[in-house]
Structures are given as C-alpha cells and as structure tokens.
C-alpha cells in the first residue's frame, strides 16, 4: 500500500479501525480533536460505534462496559482529560479489561496550554489512578510509529487483559508525515478476536452453551481474596516486564563519550543533534525507550560504554523519566538533565549546544 501524508491523530485512528476497533468513546479536547473527528466520520462507514460522551469520566466507563464484552475499544484525550479518566482506568486495570487509551499530551499542570509536552510521564508510568496497577505505556516517535502502535497496543491489551496507553503529544498528533497502513482486519477476523475472551466476558448464552455467570468486577471485599488478586496482577506485570521491553539504540558505540536518553518527540530532536555532532567527529549515543512501561533499565545500563562520562536526559518536562534513568544508571556515571516546559519544544541547536558543553 502506498504511503499517505497524514496527521498523527488521524493516522492512529485509521490504524485502530484497521486493527478491529469498532467502538470508540471520547470527549473533545485539543490537541487531539482530529482523532475524535476522524472516528466520528469513519466509524459509521464500518458499522462501528462512535459516541461523543458527556464527559471523560463517562467515556472511560463506556470503555469499561464495552471492554467487558471482550471487544476492541478505544478512547483518546489530552492531558487534563486523561486525569479525569484515571478513576475508570484504575477500575479497568483492576477488572483486567483490554482496551487502548491514547494521550496526546499538552502542557500542564491544570489547564496548562495546548502545545506539546511530556509532563504526563509520571501519571502514565507510575500510577495516576488509585491502587496497585500498571498500564503498558507505548511512546511513539513518529507518525508511522504512532499508527503502528494502534494494532500493537490492541494485541498487547488482548494478550495480557490489561489497558494499554499510547503516550503521544501535541507535536505527534498535529504533525503530518507519510504513513503506510497494515491491511484492515475483516469482519470475520474481528468476530474471532472477540470470541477469545468468552471465558470471562459478557456475552449471550448461545444455544447449547453451558450457562455462564461472568463478572466484570474490581471489588474483592475479603482482604485475603484481594491480596491474592493484587499478587496475581503483579505476577502478570512481572511477565510483561520480562517480555515487552522495547527500545531503540541510536548511534550507541564503544567510543560514545555521552549517552543520551530521550523518548517521544524529544528523542527526534536529540537524534538531529547527535547527527550534527557526529559530522563534527563527536560520538554521542542515545537510547530511546519505545515502551516507557515496562522500562528498559538494562538496555540503558548496558549502553553506557567505557568512555561515557555522562548520561544526559532530555525531556519536555522538568525531569520525569530522569528518575528511571537514575535507577538504570545506579550511580555508575553522573546523570544530567535538561528540558523545556510550558509546551515549548527545544531545538536541535539547543540540544547540540548542551551536549558540546560536555566535551
């Protein structure tokens, strides 16, 4: 299939539909509006459900209901709206329901602004909602990757019965890049995808079926039962931590004098700076976590070459992934951080200047 020039917000929506998503519930917010509008246009064409909910809270609870039926379902929002969804996300994680949540991050805290930012890293990877749970969090670095992650997120959600968040930002949402889509799933394939969940999900008693009483629930009033449930969740998360690590090594060599760590939009800019420095004979490597939970701690640690004198973290926040990098580095070398906030995106020249100071 030929490449199409598309905004990230539209590309992820198209890719979700192709992956078998036939249910989408959301509430409008900038800078993800193209996503909800694309779904409003396209869902009726595939006999899917588009519903503009009365609130983010209602939207995520509609997702809870649809996911409880084992169907591929998605919602999307931007930072303040994601905060409102956190109640429902906790229930979804507790009830072990598969679904995909897209966060097109903007500047915060509070109402913040509508420019790209990475200030929701803590919220996405360290909790956000109440209780002991984890989201699988994928952080795209391009429009193509944003689109590819839709199907990957649904696969992971189905595989682990866990909510998956795609943590993009206003830049990736608004930017146009060429995208190539995978073939769309057929209605028959989508039907089969739903049936894989029949052992636990809400569905009718078909003729000849053994009568079932499935419960979509996160309540366990007996502490011993809840203890067992939470421990089982953590066993699941431990498997995910083993199997679902994803990162990109960029220009990582033994002669690196600096190792950068950056994710999402920030990583693109760092790459440009590294290329400029490379042309000037200065060797800088970068690890880009693609999944930010589970976090590739070992990959970061192993990328610290013999000549690396500093690990430099660049983010569009005040230093959030920085904590994970410090855990990974474990004091082996100094860790430095530089970032921009308020929805202001740093330039390659600014990153280059920061890196040159280290030589």
């Amino acid at each position: 299939m030929a490449k199409i020039l598309m905004k990230g917000n539209e590309a992820v929506a198209e890719a979700a539909i192709r992956s078998g998503c036939r249910l989408y519930f959301a509430y409008p917010i900038t800078p993800q509006s193209e996503l909800i509008e694309y779904m409003a246009r396209m869902m009726p064409k595939v006999n899917g459900t588009f519903l503009q909910a009365e609130s983010e809270v209602a939207a995520i609870n509609m997702v809870y209901g649809a996911a409880g039926c084992g169907k591929r379902v998605m919602t999307s929002s931007s930072s303040p709206g994601i905060s409102l969804k956190m109640e429902g996300i906790s229930y979804i994680a507790g009830a072990e329901l598969p679904c995909v949540i897209v966060n097109v991050q903007r500047g915060g805290p509070g109402l913040g602004d509508i420019q790209p930012a990475q200030g929701d890293y803590f919220q996405a990877t360290k909790g956000g909602g109440h209780g002991d749970y984890r989201l699988i969090v994928m952080a795209p670095g391009s429009v193509q990757e944003f689109a590819d992650m839709a199907s990957e997120a649904f696969e992971l959600a189905d595989k682990y019965r866990n909510p998956v968040m795609i943590l993009a930002d206003g830049m990736l949402g608004q930017m146009m890049e060429p995208v190539e889509f995978k073939p769309a799933k057929t209605d028959a394939e989508i039907e089969e995808l739903g049936k894989q969940h029949h052992s636990w999900c809400i569905h009718p008693n078909e003729d000849g079926d053994k009568k079932h009483h499935n419960e979509i629930n996160s309540l366990e009033i007996d502490p011993l039962v809840l203890e067992k449930h939470v421990n089982e969740l953590y066993e699941k998360y431990a498997v995910i931590e083993q199997k679902e690590l994803r990162y990109e090594s960029f220009n990582v060599y033994d002669d690196n004098e600096i190792l950068c760590v950056a994710w999402g939009t920030a990583s693109r800019i760092v790459k440009s700076a590294i290329n400029e420095l490379k042309a000037a004979g200065k060797s800088v490597g970068m690890i880009r976590p693609i999944n930010v939970w589970p976090y590739p701690y070992e990959a970061v640690a192993k990328a610290i070459g013999p000549k690396v004198k500093k690990v430099y973290v660049f983010e569009l926040n005040t230093g959030q992934m920085l904590d994970d990098v410090k855990i990974a580095v474990s004091g082996k070398v100094p860790v430095d951080f530089w970032g921009k906030v308020g929805g202001i995106v740093f330039t390659p020249a600014e990153i280059q200047a920061k890196l040159e100071e280290c030589f």
Binding site: V57, A66, K71
Partner: protein
C-alpha cells in the same frame, strides 16, 4: 404438585447481604421474575452500582458488571453498544444515581440509550452508614445532617423521575413503591413493562422504587414503611410520568 414458592432462575443461590427488613431483596426478585417471565435470561446482563447493592453482580444469574460510583449508565451504554444483541439494566441507589452519577443518568436518558434503569430511593446513603442523600427529606436527620436537612443551606430533595421526564427521549418513566404488598404488585407491573420495552428495543426505561432503610433510619422495618408512606410519598408522588407505549407523554 404445583410449585408455588421458588427462586427465580434469574437469581443465583448466593444469599443476599442485606439487613433484616431491607427491601432490596424484593426489588431484586421483581426484576428477576420479570426477566424469567419474558424468557430473557440468556440475553440479559446488568450493571451493579456502589452502595448496599454493590454485590448485585453476584445475585443475578447471568453475566454482570460492577461499576464505579454513579457510572452504571455509562458502563451499560458501553455494554449495549458492544452487544446490541443483549438487554442491559442498571440497578442504582440514590447516593449513586442522584449525586455522583447525575451526569451519567441524565445523558444516558437523553440519548434514549436502550437500557432499563432501576432506581431505589430510600432517602439516605445506606452502605456508608446513613449519610444525607440528594433525596433526603427536608429536616430529616442523617449522620451528615445531624440537625436535620437544612434546605436553605443544601437545597431540596431531587425528584429524579420528574427530572428525567423533562427529557424528550426516555420511553417509559414510573415511580412505584415497595411499602405494601399492593404497591409491590404494582411495582412488579412497572418492572415487567420496563423489561418488556427493553426487550422490544423501545429505548430508555426508568423505574424508581420508593423504599426504606430501617438500619440507618433507626426505625424498625414495619414502622419504616409507615414512616415512608407518611413522609416520602407526599414528596415523591407515585405514578407514571411517561409511557410512550400507552400514549402517556
């Protein structure tokens, strides 16, 4: 020999967790009987609320979901949109539906969402220990209105059925009571009608039950019913507010 006393197939054998004299069990049974009678058990699903009936997902004998406080109509919306071949109801109390869940109930009703909502109004929060509800009567004492509900400070009780009846889409809205055997028979008719309209795909149906809370009111079960008749029914008038099937608009 004719079997005259039995558990409806739509109820599991899990014992109810309600206080002595509580009427939730009666409301559950009416819903279960109506589902049985209309042969819907294989296509039925329901959403349990937060509150005393939080365990309703264990009591109904088909697939059930448990929802966050007030969110049952949103969860039911997601279920119905995902499984249009099934019939869905929510079961909610006044603290759940009329306070934290006002947005969800109003908008599900306004969309004419294909679901039945069974709303139990006993003018108090039960499970959390007798706090003031949006339906608590003026001057009524609760643990969070210890000097009586002061309407100058906190407003008047919300008449939810009337509120829903201001919307165009809802197909059927009726307020019934569980306070006397005769009222329970009438309530059964309303429940059956809601389930029947649900089965026929007519849209949003809403039944409000006037009920009691002997434990948190601090009144014995029989006297609780008398208290409700004297105090609740004058404010929450029984009757059908909307029945598009019968031309009542």
């Amino acid at each position: 020999m004719e079997k005259i006393a039995y558990r409806p197939e739509s109820l599991t054998s899990t014992p109810f967790t309600y206080c002595p004299g509580c009427l939730h069990g009666v409301a559950h049974r009416l819903i279960a009987e109506a589902i049985d009678e209309q042969g819907l058990i294989n296509q039925m699903t329901g959403v349990a609320p937060v509150g005393c009936s939080v365990f309703a997902y264990k009591f109904f004998n088909f697939d059930m979901a448990q929802a966050a406080h007030g969110r049952a109509p949103a969860v039911a919306t997601g279920i119905k949109r995902a499984r249009p071949d099934m019939h869905v109801f929510t079961y909610q109390g006044d603290g759940d539906l009329a306070a934290i869940g006002t947005a969800e109930i109003v908008h599900a009703a306004n969309r004419g969402e294909h679901m039945s909502v069974f709303f139990v109004n006993n003018a108090i929060y039960g499970m959390t220990g007798g706090q003031m509800a949006p339906t608590t009567l003026p001057e009524m004492k609760t643990t969070t209105s210890p000097y009586g509900r002061n309407t100058d400070d906190i407003g008047f009780p919300i008449r939810v059925s009337e509120l829903i009846a201001t919307l165009i889409a809802p197909y059927y809205i009726e307020r019934v009571s569980l306070l006397t055997p005769a009222d329970i028979i009438k309530a059964k008719k309303a429940v059956s009608k809601a389930i029947q309209y649900n089965k026929e795909g007519r849209g949003f149906t809403f039944v409000e039950f006037i009920s009691t809370c002997p434990t948190n009111w601090g009144i014995d079960p029989i006297k609780s019913r008398d208290w409700a008749k004297e105090n609740m029914l004058p404010f929450f008038k029984l009757g059908c507010l909307r029945d598009k099937g019968e031309g009542v608009e």
